[in-house]
């Protein structure tokens, strides 16, 4: 996004199957889709759009491993070095009793880390005002959007004819 404002040409579809078909056609015609908006996750849309697998779960693994090491490390340090206490006749370093808390902290680190990462990557979060294309994509419409800020009239007409051929119920131009 080189400029602050963008001109977006978008078409609305009534049905997710029509949307997937239209996305396929657009990709075959080498049209540069800016984004697709749907009211719910559509099965099979990611491979059609050519999106690669999300790497969020890899980040999740790293956070989880961090949680494991934090919990196990801190407990080991506390119970063997910092403040050794005998519980129930067990040795200072009693790994089995550390496992439940290690598990909890792994889950906690992984989940919170993934949520925060997701928010940062997507520019979401408290106090952020997001631009939206059309409020109806949160209800019952499926939208394909093209960035036409730098497009010529010919290119825009080409996109419009693509929308009418692929069965879009509505085509609009909007400045974000």
């Amino acid at each position: 996004m080189a400029t602050d404002t963008q001109n977006v040409l978008y078409g609305l579809y009534d049905d997710e199957q029509e949307l997937i078909k239209a996305v396929k056609e657009a990709r075959e015609a080498d049209l540069d889709i800016m984004d697709v908006y749907t009211p719910f996750p559509v099965h099979g849309l990611d491979p059609v759009l050519g999106l690669s697998e999300s790497r969020l779960h890899q980040a999740g693994f790293v956070y989880g491993a961090l949680g494991t090491m934090t919990a196990f490390g801190v407990m080991t340090w506390v119970f063997t070095r910092d403040w050794p206490i005998i519980f129930g006749g067990k040795p200072y370093f009693s790994a089995p009793s550390f496992i439940p808390i290690t598990f909890e902290l792994t889950v906690l680190f992984a989940s919170i880390g993934m949520v925060v990462t997701f928010y940062i990557i997507n520019g979401l979060g408290p106090g952020v005002t997001n631009k939206y294309i059309d409020p109806r994509v949160t209800d019952d419409k499926f939208c394909i959007a093209f960035d036409v800020s730098d497009s010529s009239d010919d290119e825009q007409n080409n996109l419009k004819s693509f929308f009418s051929n692929s069965g879009a119920s509505e085509v609009n131009l909007k400045t974000l």
């Binding site: 697998e53 067990k90 009793s97």
Partner: protein, 418 residues
Amino acid sequence: MAGFGGLLVAIAFLTAGDDAFAWNRVWTNILHNSVFFLGISFLSMFFYAAFTIAYAGWFVVFKRVMEALTAFIPIGGAFIIIVAVGAALGWNDIYYWMTEGLTDPAAENFDKIINSKKGFLNIPYFLASTIGFVVVWTFFANKFRSVSKSEDTATPGSIETYTKLKKWTAAFLPIGASTSAFAIWYWIMSIEPHWYSTMFAWYATGSLMSCAIAVVMLSLYYLQSRGYYEEVLLTHYHDLGKFLFAFSIFWTYLWFSQYMLIWYANIGEETIHFQNQLKDFPILFYGMLILNFALPLIILMRNTNKYRKGSIIFMCIIILFGHWLDFFLMIKQGVYYELGHAAHAAEGGGHHELGFMYGYNLPGLIEIGIMIGFLGLFIYSFFNALGKANLIPNNDPYLEESLHHQGGPLGPELDVHH
């Protein structure tokens, strides 16, 4: 294979000699393998009933495989009944609590703990339950198969047989759930009558759940390699793979919970079970955790590995072997110590180490041979039952859904039809 196994059993009995350890080694192997394979059949039936009652449609395309797996229940059950009757008649010493005098306050070997459990641990109840459970399970297995088979000749579009099947599965679930817990307490947990664990039934179930899923996946891969079940999609394998992963973790959760609670509570009669495992069975104790937890965790965690043929076949075999070892340890440990105590008592007391014994601390050739024999019987009963009905239930109301099963996201490079 079954014949080979039978031959090995015969050789094993003939060469066993007078030694109580050698003699009981063969008996415990029969108990071990019949419980293990019967458990796989039972859990397959349990999954079948649970899926049916939950309106699941995805498994319908291969539901005949799960039905055919239940055909081993009467066979495995017959072997367990032989072992149980043999134990009651004194042919083997698997169950220490059957020894005379333990519940007689006047006797020299009176055992206060076992005496307090005699309401549960007594021979009439034991035999009645063993025979009763096997009969009831066999009845339900046959019922499921016959009702499901009648679906093939029903009017297309009719859901009459389906509703009937639903009623039978609904009746089975509570009965199966409660009887299986009693069965596993009687058959395995009572081998160590002083020890008890309230998690034991769940723990054994978790073990067999992973095995049942592994067997279903292996059967499907085999049948597909022979040109059957072309309709089974990658999404089916993916979902089964998720089950395989989930139940491996579930087993670990139960294993650890059982271990940790007993370790932490520090009650002598319970802790000794794990103390002995660590002392005399270290290879099985740690090896099992690697096979049943570490490998599934590492290999099956990745999304695409859950339906890659190579990884899944490798993992299924590892899991089956790992849980076979799990049951081996559950059974052999108790027999090993009870026989050891008996031997010491006969020698006039004193303490000495039992040491390493093939067939107790580690499976030897006889164990593997008898396992192969039972595997042969299991495979035979499976294919025999599978051949008696259509592979695909043509009139099942959920068949269409199953043929177009959409699971979670597969890897982007793969089509569902492989």
